[in-house]
């Protein structure tokens, strides 16, 4: 057979068999991700307004969206609002960053060494089920009413999920990839760096996302309990509104918390989707 003919056959077959990447346009993807959220928001507001109209509670206890949303809008132009959000977000990110480092180190040592796994593997999962608010009495005893008490609980809340995500990611690395990795000469640390950790990434991203949810919840609980002087935060503003029986302000702040949660969740979902698309995991899932 002539070489040219072979080449021609090969090229034709490659073209026939290749997966044609028909990526939807950027806007349609954004829209596909956004409209269910907008729809749910609309339903939520409608249900809320219905409950208020039903007169279940007096309006000064449970105000409707028509009262709350203007208050929220006003808040956006107050410097104190942004200062409070800034302090809360700084705490969240710092605590989360520490949790990622500790959780990753823990996860690697559990995944790598059998002894560590049998010693603390189950305990890490147990820690995950521990409500973070139950840590606060101890945290306050250890660190008084301080930033460190909040940090302590946020890290304890998030690190186990991150560690568990990494462990399950490592445990689910396909054996074939391990064999292939060994065959191309990856051993020891090299095998971890170039094969096991990248292969564990989807599980790890899941753990990171769950870890964030735990960190955020722990932080909100912490800010309600541990109110550090002269440091306005979302939690302390919420508590402030409750003390003054200002339900409109209270609910406005709750909406702020919800919004931040949704935005960050969307970021994680986007990261997860991007990863899966690059790895070709989406095609397999939807086929």
């Amino acid at each position: 057979m002539a070489v040219d003919e072979h080449l021609l056959n090969l090229a034709g077959l490659d073209a026939l068999e290749s997966v044609l990447g028909k990526a939807p346009s950027r806007w349609s993807r954004v829209w596909a991700m956004t409209w269910p959220k907008l729809g749910a928001l609309g339903l939520f507001l409608a249900g809320w307004q219905l409950i208020v109209w039903a007169g279940w509670k007096p309006e000064y206890v449970l105000p409707g969206p028509a009262k709350v949303l203007p208050r929220l809008w006003e808040l956006l132009f107050v410097g104190e609002f942004w200062r409070a959000v800034g302090i809360t977000m700084r705490r969240a990110l710092a605590g989360y960053a520490v949790a990622v480092v500790i959780g990753s180190l823990l996860g690697i040592s559990i995944a790598r060494t059998r002894i560590v796994r049998s010693a603390i593997g189950a305990m890490i999962t147990g820690l995950q089920t521990m409500p973070s608010i139950a840590w606060f009495p101890l945290a306050i005893a250890l660190f008084q009413i301080s930033e460190r008490a909040i940090m302590f609980v946020v890290v304890l809340g998030a690190a186990p999920s991150i560690a568990n995500g990494l462990v399950s990611g490592v445990d689910h690395v396909p054996p074939l990839l391990l064999r292939a990795g060994r065959m191309v000469g990856a051993r020891g640390v090299g095998l971890y760096r170039h094969v096991i950790l990248p292969a564990a990434l989807p599980g790890f991203v899941g753990g990171l996302k769950q870890g964030w949810a735990f960190a955020w919840r722990s932080l909100m609980a912490g800010e309600l309990i541990v109110i550090v002087g002269n440091k306005p935060s979302i939690g302390s503003r919420l508590d402030f509104a409750r003390q003054f029986s200002d339900s409109e302000l209270l609910i406005a702040w709750m909406l702020v918390i919800l919004t931040i949660g949704i935005i960050i969740d969307a970021a994680f979902t986007k990261a997860d989707l991007t990863l899966r698309r690059r790895w070709g995991l989406i095609d397999n899932a939807t086929r």
């Binding site: 026939l16 990248p198 070709g280």
Partner: protein, 262 residues
Amino acid sequence: MTTVAAPVGIDDPITGAAIALRSVSKAFGHGADAVVALDGIDLAVGRGEFVCVVGASGCGKSTALNLMAGLDRPTLGEVEVDGRPALMFQEAALFPWLDVVDNVALPMRLKGVGKGERRGRASELLDKVHLGGQGHRRPHELSGGMRQRVALARSLAQDADILLMDEPFGALDAMTRDLLHDELESVWSGSGLTVVFVTHNVREAARLADRIVLLTSRPGRVAATFEVEIPRPRRIDSPEVSGLAAKVTDRLREEVRRHGSR
């Protein structure tokens, strides 16, 4: 079945061979539950030779490859491999987080070859398997046949001089398989590569091999060897290849029948 056909091709004692198995046995498990996968195999593969190992399922073909690859040790006997083996599987086993070039370049990266050099060399290897210009793509964007060609390039990137292939085209359709036979032959010919190619497809063996080694099942023994003297390039549908395949198939049936009557 007391006498086993001695391997021909290389004079005894086996010297100068790329791979030599001497009275190799491999059992899995212990005591009464032990399964004997290989039972006293003698096999020599010469440098630059293309050997196909065929047999019914359960004849220990893959076990033999694992021994040659150094992934496993024999229970008895000696395995001598003079060279650097690379193993290819039925699945391409590419790394989904790397694009095609980086998949091929990974063996070099693990050896500490610089980025520019290893990417350049990876591109050359991709050209060799006719995948030039596809380096930026991800494994999942390729067809099964293209993935196996990337896996072949990755094996070559290990500076391997012995290619151990475990039914590498078993999962592909016949059309793609035919083209990959041409591809593999063109990579192999004149390269000095030693190839041990395990398959259950007798025609494929007749199409590719210098020598076909037929293994029996449970326990795996060398039942026969066939020198293939059909001139290259060959076609899988040529009368010579079909004739030889029929001969090998007859012998294989004989083995299977003997197994059934026992």
